[in-house]
């Protein structure tokens, strides 16, 4: 029996930043499987190309736009290019992020600025651009921010990352309230520990064991396991959900 149409994204256009690897790629593929046309905005052209090929094989329209999200002047042109290629944006997934592992006292101004620019500031500006387009059409829209357990918990060596993700969660709530009258829902996903390139340093040694012990599911999540949450939050199934922080973490946060 067919799953309900409420999770279908046919006819919708989604932008996924950092959509060529890890969680971003898995979300892009998931949204495509649900029927959306996908623009991935990311730096690495080789990975961009490979992901667009994979997306097209799913039978959707797809485009990749080379973008370093820290380049503020390039954000609006990239979004305009995505809209020219695929049509007006209905869904924005702010996924691109980096982490610099360095103690607070050793963090340089450059470290701090780079992480905040990538993980928070770019999300703000891209959301602004997307919401303007959505509001102008009056058709509503969805913004999904990929946050982190470090938005809620502290941790050694991740001061800039944690600050940026904490800010992203508060940005989510604020924009949710502001955009509600325009029928634009803004929500965040908190992935737990997921098997991606970004978490390779945590995938071995004592810290790995610590994570497994603390995670009730007793394992790292697969990037593909983030797709269901993203599809839900990108679809009409979540039209009364806004400002929500959805944990997809095998129970990490509640132990």
């Amino acid at each position: 029996m067919a799953a309900p149409k409420m999770f279908d994204l046919e006819g919708r256009v989604a932008v996924v930043t950092g959509g060529n690897g890890g969680i971003g790629r898995a979300i892009a593929m998931g949204l495509a499987q649900a029927g959306a046309a996908i623009a991935i905005l990311a730096r690495n052209e080789e990975k961009n190309h490979a992901t667009v090929e994979a997306l097209k094989k799913l039978g959707v329209r797809a485009a990749a736009i080379k973008l370093d999200v820290t380049d503020r002047s390039a954000l609006a042109p990239a979004m305009a290019e995505a809209e020219r290629a695929l049509g007006p944006i209905d869904i924005l997934v702010n996924n691109a992020g980096i982490s610099i592992q360095r103690s607070s006292l050793k963090h340089t101004a450059e470290d701090w600025d780079r992480v905040l620019e990538t993980n928070l500031h770019s999300c703000f500006f891209l959301s602004q651009i997307a919401a303007r387009s959505m509001a102008a059409r009056g058709a509503g829209g969805k913004i999904i921010n990929i946050a982190s357990e470090y938005a809620r918990f502290g941790g050694g060596g991740v001061v800039s990352y944690a600050a940026a993700k904490g800010g992203l969660v508060q940005m989510t709530k604020t924009m949710a309230i502001e955009f509600a009258p325009r029928n634009i829902q803004v929500n965040a996903i908190v992935p737990g520990w997921i098997k991606t390139d970004m978490t390779v340093p945590a995938q071995s040694g004592p810290f790995y064991q610590e994570i497994l012990t603390r995670t009730p599911a007793g394992r790292f999540g697969e990037p593909e396991e983030m797709a269901g949450t993203a599809i839900y939050l990108a679809s009409h199934a979540s039209d009364f959900v806004t400002g929500a922080i959805v944990y997809a973490d095998g129970g990490f946060a509640i132990r």
């Binding site: 029996m1 799953a3 949710a176 269901g228 009364f240």
Partner: protein, 258 residues
């Protein structure tokens, strides 16, 4: 576009307590549309019959069991009957609940006991019964329908808020304990929703000010329809949420964060 297997419940058996009206009915019908066989456990036989007819019109197998879930001795036999008629339970939705509209200082012992028994203790006992069946199969989903009232203080329905707060914590404890068995337990916290249960605030002039404040505080500026809870429920009982456990999914038009 083909059916998205992430949200497909074909071949699954689900129990929905209080599944004959309001949010429970909406969820029961939603699960059936996603392919599940659904058993509703609820008191009112007339409403059971009406909802059962709707479920059967959708397709998969369905049954209704007339049951007051505050009667502890009847819980196990009811689950046994579901498993005999529909098969092993894959999904439990603890939805049945009610509120006593009285400040704490006016609560009688019976008020407190009846609310806590129906909303919290029955959810615990049913979870225990159903999880025992799920554990050997190494799969299952428990969904507790909580409330934004579980997070906030209120003088209007305080014992209800306490029971829902307890249910949120029950969800987390079930999630941690059952995760090694690949059983996910999550909570769906509806905000203000148009159901019989909220008739008082929507229609009783005594609560007109409370209603006005509520709508003013909700960014979406309206009550939800019961049907708007279905997407969250399907997400939380389907393969789409395989790495989601112990989560509180708030479906409230932004009330909680405003």
């Amino acid at each position: 576009m083909n059916a998205n297997p992430l949200f497909d419940l074909t071949g699954k058996t689900a129990i929905v307590t209080g599944g004959n009206t309001g949010i429970g009915r909406a969820i029961a019908l939603g699960l059936a549309r996603a392919g599940a066989s659904v058993a509703i456990l609820a008191r009112n036989q007339e409403r059971n019959r009406a909802t059962l007819a709707e479920l059967k019109a959708i397709g998969p197998k369905a049954i209704a069991i007339g049951l007051d879930i505050s009667q502890r001795a009847k819980l196990k036999p009811a689950v046994d009957q579901v498993e005999r008629d529909l098969g092993p339970v894959d999904i439990l939705v603890n939805n049945a609940g009610f509120a006593v509209l009285k400040p704490l200082m006016e609560h009688r012992e019976e008020d407190w006991d009846s609310v806590l028994e129906t909303n919290l203790t029955a959810a615990f006992m049913l979870s225990q019964i159903v999880a025992r069946s799920m554990i050997p199969r190494r799969a299952g989903k428990i969904l507790n329908v909580t409330s934004i009232g579980g997070f906030k203080g209120t003088p209007i329905y305080p014992s209800y808020g306490v029971s829902k707060g307890g249910m949120l914590q029950l969800t987390r404890c079930l999630a941690v304990e059952l995760a090694p068995h690949n059983i996910q337990a999550n909570s769906l916290a509806p905000g203000w929703t148009t159901t019989d249960m909220t008739d008082w605030i929507r229609n009783d002039p005594k609560y007109a000010a409370a209603k006005e404040q509520m709508v003013a505080r909700t960014p979406a500026a309206r009550f939800a329809d019961a049907d708007e809870m279905v997407g969250a429920a399907l997400f939380l009982v389907s393969p789409a949420s395989s790495f989601v456990t112990g989560a509180d999914l708030i479906v409230d038009g932004g009330f909680f964060i405003a």
